[in-house]
Amino acid sequence: MAADPVALPAALRPQPLVIGEVTPGVLDDQVLSHTETRPPLKWFVAVTFTSMIATLGLALLGYTVYQGIGIWGNNRPVFWAFDIINFVFWVGIGHAGTLISAILFLFRQRWRNAIARFAEAMTIFAVMCASIFPAIHVGRPWLDFWLFPLPNQRGMWPNFRSPLIWDVFAVNTYFAVSAMFWYLGLLPDLASLRERARHPLRRAAFTILSLGWRGTAAHWRHFEKAYLLLAGLATGLVLSVHSVVSFDFATSIVPGWHMTIFPPYFVAGAIFAGFAMVIMVLIVVRESMNLKHLITERHLDVMNKVLLAMACLMGYSYMMEGFTAWYSMNPYLHHVFTQYFFGSYGWAGWVTVTCNVFLPQILWWPRARRSYPLMILVSLGVTVGMWMERFVIIVISLHQDYLPSSWHLYRPTLVDFGILLGTFGIFFTLVLLFARLLPVIATSEMKMDLPGAQPTHAGATHV
């Protein structure tokens, strides 16, 4: 950029990504020092609480494995219930992280640097929570390896025409790619931690974790190229994963599932739910770790705008679903769609629409996008609403199938609720551990965009 700024209106001028004077050294001290000091008491209180909930969940998972899935509320014809709802819910939460780290990277949205690391970590943890459910839902989890195309003495192979096996591939690839993307981004920061470490054990640990990263020009050249490629690959992947999840439903002939709008509708919903979760966690991180000048109000403002845009997309999707039901002239579809809002579980449909479409509309108001209570209200609402949306799609569509004699009201058991709660415990325990063990902000990416970090392009040697 030339020394003389082009005369742009104030609203279009690029705004600084951080508030105040931040130098690379200061950034390191502020971000990396959290991993080097003793966590405050409130962190211990929080992690005790979440790990208790996680333990409850793990105990109930163990009980499920021991006793069998008969202890859940699932019964014909509602064979898919909390297990699949929670799976779709958690995979969806993960999508925000990949969107922020990959898609916004490709669009050169530099503000994403401050929140990308955290969102990526949340992706990994969310996918971990999600993968629990298909694993236990099969009933005999010790035979889960049957899901993979392994040569076996039974001479059998999985059916590759089934969306369920596509799901296995999609979720596993998604987890592996997210983990790879996250770890590569961590490497330079791990090298910084290695050099800051005082204790020889800590230094040894970070030497191994950083793989001996030195930050030479050649390192960075290959690194940047690989990171760009990974971003491109993850972008395609994030669109594919929830599309494949939606195929589990869309390729069946259940009324309410058999719809072509499902893949984009699911992807939009996933990003929507994920952003709500990221906003909630980000507020806690920003406040408790003194990072207000790095994760600024502008970040929250932009995130809320994304949330608002996604809420409108969801509203459009719901309307299209209704339109498809009406226009199909299919009496079964008419019936199911009526059940969504006026049946035994009709309240679920109204909760979904209220939380996902109506409530986020307050974000049109600029002050709501910067107000904690309203932001948290909307994000909580979206989290609840998106979970209810999957309940509507799965349980309501299933509970009244083609044969009225097999209609059945689904009632979840306490174990169902306990496992759902337990995954929240697992998720937040991992998030809390991550916040104190690894840098929550990608410092090398932040440093790259600090004022004065790049050559002014006036130097004669710069080709």
């Binding site: 010790w142 089934s162 190229k225």
Partner: protein
């Protein structure tokens, strides 16, 4: 300078100063020129003369390979090794294989991008680089930018000239990274400890495995499917007075295909007629039954020399002899049903059709062993 230098490093505060220094230092050609930065600096790699990263090409090749592998594997599974019709689709219904193909392609591409970058191009993990232990590393992973003149191969680094060149190029401060002492071969003592340690680990794990296997009984895992609230057939049960779980069939029940044998003696049996045609299937069936039940004593050629005859000391009939060739079909049937001399009844082992098929097959064997001239035509 007393100790030999691996590198002379000039530290810079601004990227402009670093980039300005690159050209004169490269021109001085005092050693390998390397830059260390805490974040990627635009234009640095180009001015250092580094080539474009080949990661892109590698990823493209591996992505295509991944897609081809996945499609090929699915084709092989669905159309070759385990062809099962699903939903009335063709065995190679490639449209359904696209999602897995895409996922495997992305997985291949991702691991290529990450691992090729780390392992092949950047030669990581590597913990022995002399720069790693130096104080320069702490600065360049934090906020300083460094340009280093490093020892190039076996050529000794001229530290004094390198220092002068970096000073002239505008470095704010200069540090010298010493060449690490050449590593010594491990001493006998160290080797002894290492080998002893490995041996101790092997012994410990061996004994542990032994005791674990010995002391802990092998528990049947997850037997809920077996332990169901049901009563197994052939088991004892107090519900009925006779203690049996299963009810006996009604008296006089006859199993299908097992009508009682109503022929009084062999003469009466002579009148029985073989009901089966002499077709290839019947002969194949007869051959199968004959090989299973008859040939162990009567032998594969019905000559009375079977694998079991010597073991029992019995002398099974040579069915090729004139006596037995003259037997009527019904007579042989009667022998199968009742047994003869040491031969027990085979009524329980052969079904009605099998008995007659065996007889057809035996006739074929007899004719084959006593073939006439016209049979050869």
């Amino acid at each position: 300078m007393s100790e030999r230098a691996f590198a002379v490093v000039g530290l810079f505060d601004s990227p402009d100063a670093l980039l300005r220094a690159v050209a004169p230092i490269r021109a001085a050609s005092l050693g390998r020129v390397e830059a260390y930065t805490p974040y990627p600096v635009h234009g640095l790699a180009t001015s250092l003369g580094l080539k474009r990263s080949p990661v892109g090409g590698m990823v493209l090749v591996m992505a295509l390979l991944g897609a081809a592998t996945a499609l090929g594997f699915q084709w092989w599974v669905a159309a070759v090794d385990y062809p099962i019709t699903t939903g009335g689709k063709a065995f190679f219904s490639w449209e359904a294989f696209v999602p897995v193909m895409f996922e495997v392609m992305v997985a291949f591409a991702t691991f290529t991008a990450g691992l090729a970058m780390l392992l092949l191009l950047n030669r990581l993990p590597f913990f022995g680089h002399p720069m790693l232990g130096s104080s320069v590393m702490a600065a360049v992973t934090r906020d300083r930018l460094a340009l280093a003149i490093e020892k190039d191969g076996d050529v000794e680094l001229d530290a004094t000239n390198a220092r002068a060149a970096l000073e002239a190029a505008g470095a704010q401060s200069i540090e010298v990274v010493a060449l690490p002492a050449p590593s010594q071969p491990a001493s006998a003592r160290t080797l002894g400890w290492m080998l002893g340690g490995i041996a101790a680990a092997c012994l410990t794990s061996g004994f542990l495995t032994y005791w674990v296997v010995k002391l802990f009984p092998v528990l049947p895992p997850m037997v809920h499917m077996l332990q169901q609230p049901r009563i197994n057939p052939q088991s004892q049960n107090g519900f009925f007075a006779d203690g049996r779980t299963q009810r006996l069939p009604v008296a006089g029940t006859v199993a299908r295909g097992y009508l009682p044998y109503a022929v009084a003696n062999a003469d009466e049996a002579d009148r029985l007629v073989n009901p089966l045609p002499r077709s290839a299937e019947v002969l194949a069936r007869g051959r199968r039954a004959y090989s299973t039940f008859c040939s162990v004593c009567h032998g594969p050629l019905a000559t009375g020399v079977g694998t079991l005859s010597s073991a029992y000391g019995a002398k099974p009939a040579n069915l090729q002899s004139q006596t037995f060739r003259d037997y009527s079909d019904g007579h042989i049937y009667d022998v199968i049903m009742r047994g003869k001399n040491a031969m027990p009844s085979y009524a329980e082992d052969l079904s009605e059709d099998e008995r007659w098929a065996v007889i057809h097959y035996l006739r074929a064997l007899q004719r084959a062993q006593n073939a006439k001239q016209e049979d050869l035509r």
